[in-house]
Amino acid sequence: MGSITLRNVRKAFGDIEVIPGVDLDIQDGEFVVFVGPSGCGKSTLLRLIAGLEDVSGGQIMIDGQDVTEHAPARRGLAMVFQSYALYPHMSVRKNITFPLKMSRMDQDEQNRRVEHAAKILNLTDYLDRKPGQLSGGQRQRVAIGRAIVREPSAFLFDEPLSNLDAALRVGMRVEISELHKKLATTMIYVTHDQVEAMTMADKIVVLRAGRVEQVGSPLELYRSPANRFVAGFIGSPNMNFLEGKAAAGHGAHAIGVRPEHFRMSLTEGAFAGTVGVAEHLGSDTFLHVDLDDGTHIIARAEGEFAARHGDRVWLTPEEGRIYRFDAEGLAI
């Protein structure tokens, strides 16, 4: 079991209010991703749930029980830190059994769980090494192993992949997703990378300056962002925004069009511009276009599209794929 509920949770460091008040419901077994730019309070929110920081106000409930005043160990959660936080002088086996030893579990059960975790995480051959003798990806897996042997009611991950190189990151992303399918335990995952959020999450929580901007499944956020911030944050490359005359034509302060929702033409269309950089990847073509009114646009065409630096192109947004925003940035 691992449903987590936040009720008006607030956090201030001295005079600085980092989390002004968050309400959130996380169902048992969900994979929830907190995403937002650096410094928006994702880690702080996670640490509040873990109990590593005291709340300044509000309530945290796990499985309906108020744990706001409970010490971290009593909340039954396991956390994987960005720095992995492995114990450097202990072998991998000792690292993984540490939480079990602390709960005075009997030795046979400890061994059974370590072997099991090592098998899941491909660590069997490394159990007697020290963390210093492992690669980044392996250390990451040890940290995850230390979390899963406790069979917690939920896992907390704080940017677990940010110290890995790009190729490993993709691999670990898939491994963590598979782990979630296998264990079916609640996971809360913090990242500033929207690709990780989109690919892994059942539910994404978009944060800005300590406030929840929107909660929803990846495709809900993609299809119907609540405001300009979410629209710009979700999707890669970012959504293009047009203001002024183009927007007024749609009865809005600003309109947004995703790069993949433009049709490109060398002869005619809604917006004319000049190609700055053309990126030909074969499977896709990305054009960086400077429109005649000065707006910078990134547009994507599937497959190959013959346009080069300096060419004139016309871009036309697909019908029904135009997002309209008012002067406050809220979606209309």
């Binding site: 873990a50 109990g51 590593l52 010490a71 971290p72 160990a73 959660l77 396991a78 956390m79 830190f81 960005q82 720095s83 936080a85 492995l86 114990y87 450097p88 002088h89 202990m90 540490f98 939480p99 602390m102 709960s103 230390r146 406790r150």
Partner: protein, 289 residues
Amino acid sequence: MATRQTQSLARLMRAPAIILLLIWMLVPLAMTLYYSFLNYNLLNPAGTSWAGWFNYSYFYTDPAFFDAVRNTLVLVLGVLTITVVLGTAIAMLIDKPIFGQGIVRILIISPFFVMPPVAALIWKNMIMHPSYGVFADLAKFFGQAPIDWFAQYPLTSIIIIVAWQWLPFATLILLTALQSLDGEQMEAAEMDGAGPVSRFIHLTLPHLSRAMTVVILIQTIFLLGIYAEILVTTNGGPGNASTNLTYLIYRAARLNFDIGGAAAGGIIAVILANFVAIFLMRAVGRNLD
């Protein structure tokens, strides 16, 4: 470029320093070794003659010798224990952000700047003195008879004084080690259900082991040669109760004017110090790569 030319050039450039160092070390050692086989007394320098192993057997059969060896070991171990244990405790206390942190840290470090004889004299006359020392005042305040520290517990008194002097060193080294302890590791342990005691045993202590090794090795080198504190307080007494090897050698040379005997004692002390060093390196040296 590590060509043969640059290597021999490097050797040439290093040579003066190494030769100087060798002379510096070897000449006194050789002279001591030579004197230790002579009947050489400053009261009768004309009667100097070859003594063979007599000085060694004389030193070895001196009942004070074994007292001195024992006192030396007790002194070193006592001071090491006190400084490492208290040093760890104090380092952990001042590692936490507290009001007036800067001042507190300076105060804690300051004993290190007091020269050994001065420190010992202060302790002797102002703190441990049976009639006007602070300890005597305290004892009287609680209605107890004051303790005559240097008469009743001579070696303990010296251990206390020396430990007071070395505590800042241990504290400082251990504090810097503590400050390099990763906070996320502590938090991970907290989430793993480790209480403060378990966290100390399983995380803090192993993390400090390297710094403790440094403290133990460096202090041992200096503690084997403690001398000034004994000279200005107990003069090695009562009897031989606070005489260590260094002081015994001093007594042979300067009080009995027996250069040969003192030299033999010095050589024995060097050999013993090497024993201690080998033992220490075996015991704690593996913490250092």
